[in-house]
């Protein structure tokens, strides 16, 4: 039986290694055609004109992700603090599963909401004629990252030993001062991990951004420009790319970039979570 578990463990690692190898292999094939420098510094992605610059796709991805985090972090951390410190147990038992339910909504449905609800809303508020842009994608991705951020951050806050709080109260500190000076610093690494996981969730999302951000390949000028993220670009073009062409290999190269980013984010999250464990006595 142990052998079976061991085998399944090795199988997972083999799959990961296989994917990485395939990405690398195809990317190398791409970089023999297109120099790495042009790939990383080019702003135009137009395979039909042999232009393979990832910069505008990369900036679009980062723009949408940063926008999403600007919304999701304050709301997510605030909700987590409320749930862990202030909410009555009865309320908390209702709220937490409700928040987790958000994660169960399929991304296509969220994308659809982006088209029919957020799109007209942005048009009305920002007085623009087009609401399918980076801001729309950010709002949707923030919604999708919230459950991850709230759940992980709340666990981190609750993991702060009760003795810390009691010691603080014993010294005469108020609830707010305790929260600010004791609980948040103690739970800090866990909150960072929560945010990192949220970023990981947002950066790899495909369907939602594909539906809501307009997918123009122009270099983004701001949150109100239509953007095309790396994930959306792969989803759009993979369907009809001639196999084993430069374009085909190029899509793997963009996938490799995406893999490196989300790997770095998850790795960083892993590092800080390891740090929290040291924190608890």
């Amino acid at each position: 039986m142990q052998l079976a578990f061991q085998a399944s463990g090795f199988f997972c690692i083999a799959v990961l290694g296989g994917i990485l190898l395939m990405l690398l292999w195809n990317s190398i094939a791409f970089f023999t055609d297109v120099p790495l420098f042009f790939f990383l510094s080019g702003t135009v992605w137009q395979p039909e004109n042999q232009q393979y610059g990832i910069l505008s796709l990369l900036v679009s991805t980062l723009l949408v992700t940063i926008g999403a985090m600007a919304m999701a972090i304050p709301i997510g951390i605030g909700t987590a603090l409320y749930l862990a410190e202030y909410a009555l147990p009865v309320l908390r038992n209702w709220l937490k599963p409700a928040v987790e339910m958000l994660a169960a909504i399929p991304s296509v449905v969220i994308g659809f909401i982006g088209i029919v609800v957020i799109n007209p809303a942005i048009m009305a508020i920002a007085k623009t004629s087009n609401g399918l842009n980076a801001l729309n994608g950010s709002v949707l991705l923030a919604t999708m990252a919230l459950p991850t951020i709230i759940t992980v951050a709340e666990d981190a806050i609750r993991a702060v030993p009760q003795a810390f709080r009691e010691a603080s109260y014993g010294l005469g500190a108020s609830k707010w001062a305790t929260l600010q000076k004791i609980v948040v610093p103690a739970a800090y690494p866990g909150m960072i991990a929560a945010i990192m996981l949220g970023i990981g969730r947002a950066i790899g999302e495909t369907m939602t951004v594909l539906m809501a951000t307009g997918n123009a390949i122009a270099f983004p000028k701001g949150m109100l420009s239509s953007v095309r993220t790396i994930t959306a670009n792969i989803a759009i073009e993979m369907g009809e790319v001639p196999f084993f062409s430069t374009h085909y290999y190029g899509l793997f190269a963009t996938a490799l970039v995406l893999f490196i980013i989300s790997f770095a984010v998850n790795f960083a999250a892993e590092k800080v979570t390891a740090h929290i464990r040291k924190f608890q006595i």
Partner: protein
Amino acid sequence: MIRKLFCWLCSLVMLSCKNNTSQLIIKGSDTEVNLMVLLAEAYWQQHPKWQVSVSGGGSGVGIVALLNGRADIANSSRPMNAKEQALFQRYGVACDTFIFAEDAIAIIAHATNPIDSLTVEQLQAIFSGQLRNWQSLNGNHLKINLYGRPNNSGTHAWLQKKLGISFCKHVLEMNGNAQIVEAIKLDQSGLGYVSAGYVVKNYQQTGEGFKILRIAAKGQAACSPLDKEAVEQQKYYLLRPLYQYIRRESAQKAQPFIEFIKSPAGEEILLANGYFLVRNDSAK
């Protein structure tokens, strides 16, 4: 018990293999997939022993499936390109071309847009990004928002080629005709291209928040893709043939279906869905 089940499964698999001889597999263009399903259903009612399976995925997907022998007929909203032709030659796969209908591309704008028609030159300037403001066209100082299909779409490839331009980078790429129409309905300064067949079938006519512009080719009067007579006389500029590529090995299987499309019953379905019949002199 399990063995019994296994036997059952085996016989099922064998039966389905046997059925393959009277199965016709059609793959390709998403634009044509709805039409093809209707044709296949009508065909099946006349010839119940034929099982016709239709699936989409895009023109290129259909052509690749034809090459690999996973389809008998590939639907395509664009002609085969040089690379694909080279592949067919290299693998020694022969196929026949059949233009079964024509589809018009409609250029649509918001209902409140004062403009009613555009010339081909204006379209070229707008979609290539030279002209980015409505001012010189209708007096409104507004940026032109362009809506189109992504580059895996036959419509995208075809229009780009027909206009002889490269689409500018600001064109929003939407997942299908429906999204373009809905976006244009909301966007006062929007301009987009959709299949006329789609608009006719789903909206009957304009006046529901968007309008179809008339297009004027060089030195000709502007005409609308809804004007059947003009379209049939090839006066509408954005008219494209819809192709079917038939694998030669499957020619015999496909023949009755092709005959059906050409029959009055088939033509009726084409017309009812907003497509146009191919005139002999228009075969390109």
